[in-house]
């Protein structure tokens, strides 16, 4: 019995060793920023949510309560609430959507089911007619990403392929009619595409890439959300306000007074909306976008490294895409949330074997991560501006500038230290990847970030 027990333990240990070995072999040369960001976001979520609540409701209520305004300007009635509550919701929206996105990634089988339902993907056994091309594609996927499930929806010829999770240890590649068309047109490009998707599976970032879907969903509906939560309530609230003031003091009941109130309050809140839309949301989502971009660049590099001519093949696909959608703002915006700009990808692919390309790919996330507090500072300045317009004495321009500088001083410690340390130690962890061959580059990029972070912590 003891011998059998020992044999079992030995089997488990050797299995774990093999799994760890396999994992080490699959590690990319770019640190798994999306995992690092997800972990820090989860830790900070309650605090960030609280801050967002304070940022909106606290500041707005302080700004709009009657005591800080000239008497009778803003009576504490329902239209006050109509103005305040919706923008509070819009400020909380990024956190709620990101939280939901991450919650979905914690339940990969649920996400997998949802993805399959949404894109009508089904197991290939259910696709009745396996043609030679399909068999070739399956064989290729089995070779480059063993143990990866394949789901298909061939009727859709506008999509090509994407990777998604089925469980914690199981992923799938969804293939569409676009892939079989590509297989016929340019086999090398189709193979490079599958290698890119296989890289997402092997790097295990399919589990968390889904949190970007929430961002995409919010961004795609942003105009409607802004209309519903800001423009409409502000218009109603400001209109009601001007009416209330007109009826309360007949001597002021002229059209110009109503217009003045509408412009002042409407303008102030719109300034706030600009802050919210362009800076605050950017501040919340910038690290995630940067992490997604880094994961995509990492997958590109992997496809280029694993396949002779892989970089050239991906270049052909991206250049064709650039030609087809040239000048399409909608496409640029839509793709910007999920992929780096095509020009950047092409530039990096052309230099995929050079250190400068690796350095740029490595710095994408640290830049995005540290940009977040800058955007937040800009958002706070915009909010101060709105407060100043509403209630002059509360926030003079000097305070606005001070608010921005204070925000900038927050860049630091956590963001700089975390990214700097991750960069510095990554060649030790991923010693079997390209990172292990160029540790000096990682040290050269990571050390200044660590030094800056320490300096910031010590001086602030």
């Amino acid at each position: 019995v003891r011998k059998r027990g020992r044999a079992r333990v030995a089997n488990v240990v050797s299995g774990a060793k093999a799994a760890a070995d396999e994992m080490l072999n699959d590690l990319p040369d770019i640190p798994p920023w999306i995992w690092i960001w997800t972990a820090t976001f989860m830790v900070q979520l309650p605090g960030e949510f609280g801050k967002a609540w304070f940022f909106t409701s606290g500041t707005l209520v302080n700004t709009l309560i009657p005591s800080t305004l000239p008497p009778g300007t803003l009576p504490p009635t329902w239209h006050n609430a109509v103005i305040i509550i919706p923008p509070v919701l819009i400020i909380l929206l990024p956190h709620v959507s990101l939280g939901l996105g991450i919650a979905m990634t914690a339940l990969p089988w649920l996400r997998g089911r949802w993805v399959e339902r949404r894109h009508r993907l089904s197991p290939l056994a259910a696709v009745q007619r396996a043609r030679p091309t399909h068999v070739e594609i399956l064989a290729f996927i089995a070779r480059i990403a063993p143990d990866t499930a394949v789901r298909a929806y061939f009727a859709n010829s506008s999509r090509i392929a994407f990777a998604y999770p089925l469980g914690y240890r199981c992923s799938a590649i969804g293939i569409f009619g676009g892939l079989t068309r590509l297989w016929h047109r340019d086999r090398a490009v189709a193979e490079a595409v599958l290698l890119h998707e296989a890289a997402h599976v092997l790097h295990r970032d399919v589990l968390v890439l889904g949190s970007g879907s929430a961002l995409k969903a919010v961004a795609e509906r942003w105009i409607w959300i802004a209309l519903l939560l800001v423009v409409m309530p502000v218009t109603v609230g400001a209109g009601a306000l001007s009416l209330a003031n007109s009826s309360g003091s007949p001597q002021q009941a002229d059209a110009f007074e109503g217009l003045r109130l509408l412009v002042v309050y409407g303008g102030s809140i719109i300034a706030f909306v600009v802050a919210c839309a362009f800076f605050y949301t950017g501040a919340v989502f910038a690290p995630l976008i940067a992490a997604i971009w880094a994961a995509e660049l990492s997958a590109d590099r992997s496809a280029a490294a694993r396949h002779t001519g892989g970089a050239q093949a991906l270049l052909r696909l991206l250049e064709e895409e650039q030609r087809q959608v040239k000048g399409s703002l909608w496409h640029s915006l839509g793709s910007g949330f999920s992929h780096p700009p095509s020009r950047l990808r092409c530039w990096l692919l052309r230099r995929s074997d050079q250190r400068c390309a690796l350095a740029v790919a490595l710095l994408i996330f640290p830049l995005g991560y540290t940009a977040s507090p800058v955007l937040l500072a800009a958002a706070m300045s915009m909010l101060n501006m709105a407060a100043y317009i509403l209630s002059g004495p509360v926030a003079p321009p000097r305070a606005i500038a001070a608010g921005f500088i204070l925000g900038l001083e927050r860049i630091a410690a956590l963001e700089l230290l975390a990214t700097g340390i991750a960069l510095t130690v990554w060649p030790i962890i991923a010693r079997r990847s390209a990172a292990g061959r160029t540790p000096a580059l990682y040290l050269a990029l990571g050390a200044p970030l660590v030094a800056l972070g320490l300096w910031n912590r010590l001086t602030s």
Binding site: V127, A155, S157, R159, H184, H339
Partner: protein
Amino acid sequence: MAESDAHALAIRIAERVAPDEVDIAPDVLDAAIRGGREWEELLRQRRTPLVGGIGPDTTAGLLLIVFDWLRQNGPTLLGCISSGLNIILLLRQVAGGGAKSPEATTARPPDTQAAIASLEVSILALQKRLTTQGQSQQQAAAITQGLLEELEAALTTTREVVERLERRTPP
């Protein structure tokens, strides 16, 4: 009609109009027959990429356009064919600027003439749709001719497919 007949027709059409779509032709035909929201979504063809994915394929799927045309104009086409109209001749006349020959329009009942006129308009609309998707005039004409020739060559199967497209009963 056996399932394979409809799919074989779809594949033959794909070989003529969009060779790189041969492998997906049966699936596209089945989706066209199922119709509904699925078909509308396929026609919309969103061009933004997915998170964790690559693409989209920026070139248009021609089979979608061709089968959508068949969904809308199948009965008219069958009516014209069964009245003895030479479809290819009609196509040449459409390509030549729409001048009608006596064979195509005369000595036929008024409702057949109306069907022929309607078919002419729909053929022109198909060619215009193909050109807006990036095909040249010549390519659009060749695609239309390939489609009509294949449909005419397998008339029994075509009739069954058109009926299924109307009834929405997938094989």
